[in-house]
């Protein structure tokens, strides 16, 4: 599989072979605003506690907070910007588990990281490998808001 055949970008610097068990990749930080929380919820998760301050205050979170799907999607963006956009990513078969550990509130600054827990070459596709990861996103107080175990599919360097 060549880079073009795999549909990869031109700036691929990290292939399957460049992921090593035990390695932790920092994915950077971003601050989440109230407007984007409400806009995401209006489109994908229109529940009152993601849309209105009063309903948020009445919830277990004690204030308007982001949809968990927004938190997960923000992590995905962080993973793209932090590593996947410059990698030989071919997608993902799925997620073994995801936990929403704490609510994300307007103004929170989230920091993500990804730890490689396993790598294996595909038995059926010579140009492909699987990278097992455990990821974590925490807020500015160090409180973990999201954890996830997920698998990445990566093209192999020697096949390109």
């Amino acid at each position: 599989m060549t880079r073009t055949e795999a549909g990869l970008g031109e700036e691929t610097t990290r292939w399957f072979d460049d992921f090593h068990v035990g390695e932790t990749i920092s994915l950077g930080s971003r601050t989440v605003g109230r407007d984007e929380i409400v806009a995401f919820a209006a489109k994908w998760d229109p529940q009152p506690m993601h849309l209105e301050d009063e309903a948020g205050r009445a919830s277990l979170a004690g204030g308007l907070f982001a949809s968990g799907w927004h938190t997960a999607s923000l992590f995905m963006r962080m993973a793209c910007d932090g590593v996947l956009s410059r990698s030989a990513s071919l997608g993902s078969p799925g997620i073994d588990s995801l936990a929403w550990k704490a609510p994300v509130m307007p103004g929170d600054t989230l920091t993500g990281r990804m730890t490689v827990t396993g790598t294996r070459a595909s038995a059926s596709r010579p140009g492909l490998g699987f990278v097992e990861t455990e990821v974590e996103m925490a807020n500015q107080r160090g409180t973990v808001v999201l954890t996830m175990k997920t698998t990445l599919m990566m093209a192999r360097r020697e096949a390109a």
């Binding site: 795999a6 956009s85 990513s89 071919l90 995801l98």
Partner: protein, 157 residues
């Protein structure tokens, strides 16, 4: 929405369909998953997916929207009958999310949610945790997406 005791294993709800247009696939991907096969038809064709493919998070978010629409309808109907429906709690997370087939531009996915089990919460008195299997099927009936959700639901006692 109902109390935990009102959910029974095997209860299934057809949530309706979501059509993944190329415009929406690209818009979602620009915000949250800007990988070439989610942004560009040619890159998608060259990828393992074989076409412009929706982000897996987009496929999951469409399930969430249809689930919330269903839940809102149920709550509105209960209120219309003069009942006070309990407000569901948050979700602690999910397990075993699998994107078994790509969802390509133009495809319409049908979603279904089936109750797996309910149990009392050990940490939160008055609450239970409901486990459900959520699935998406393409036009031929082939399953393309599934995961097991967990959500806190008030108990009726």
């Amino acid at each position: 929405m109902k109390h935990l005791e009102d959910f029974h294993p095997g209860d299934a709800v057809e949530l309706g369909t979501w059509t993944f247009t190329a415009d929406e696939i690209v818009a979602f991907a620009r915000d949250f998953d800007p990988q070439p096969f989610h942004l560009d038809e040619a890159a998608g064709k060259a990828s393992l997916f074989g076409g412009l493919a929706a982000s897996g998070w987009h496929v999951a978010c469409a399930w969430m929207r249809l689930w919330i629409d269903h839940q809102t309808r149920e709550m509105d109907e209960a209120k219309a009958r003069g009942e006070e429906p309990p407000i569901p709690g948050p979700s602690p997370g999910f397990d075993d999310m699998r994107w078994t087939r790509p969802v390509l531009a133009g495809q319409t996915i049908r979603y279904r949610t089936t109750v797996v089990s309910g149990r009392a919460s050990k940490s939160r008195p008055g609450w239970g945790i409901l486990d459900s299997l959520n699935e998406g099927f393409d036009e031929t009936g082939t399953r393309v997406f599934h995961f097991t959700s967990h959500v806190f639901i008030p108990t009726g006692g």
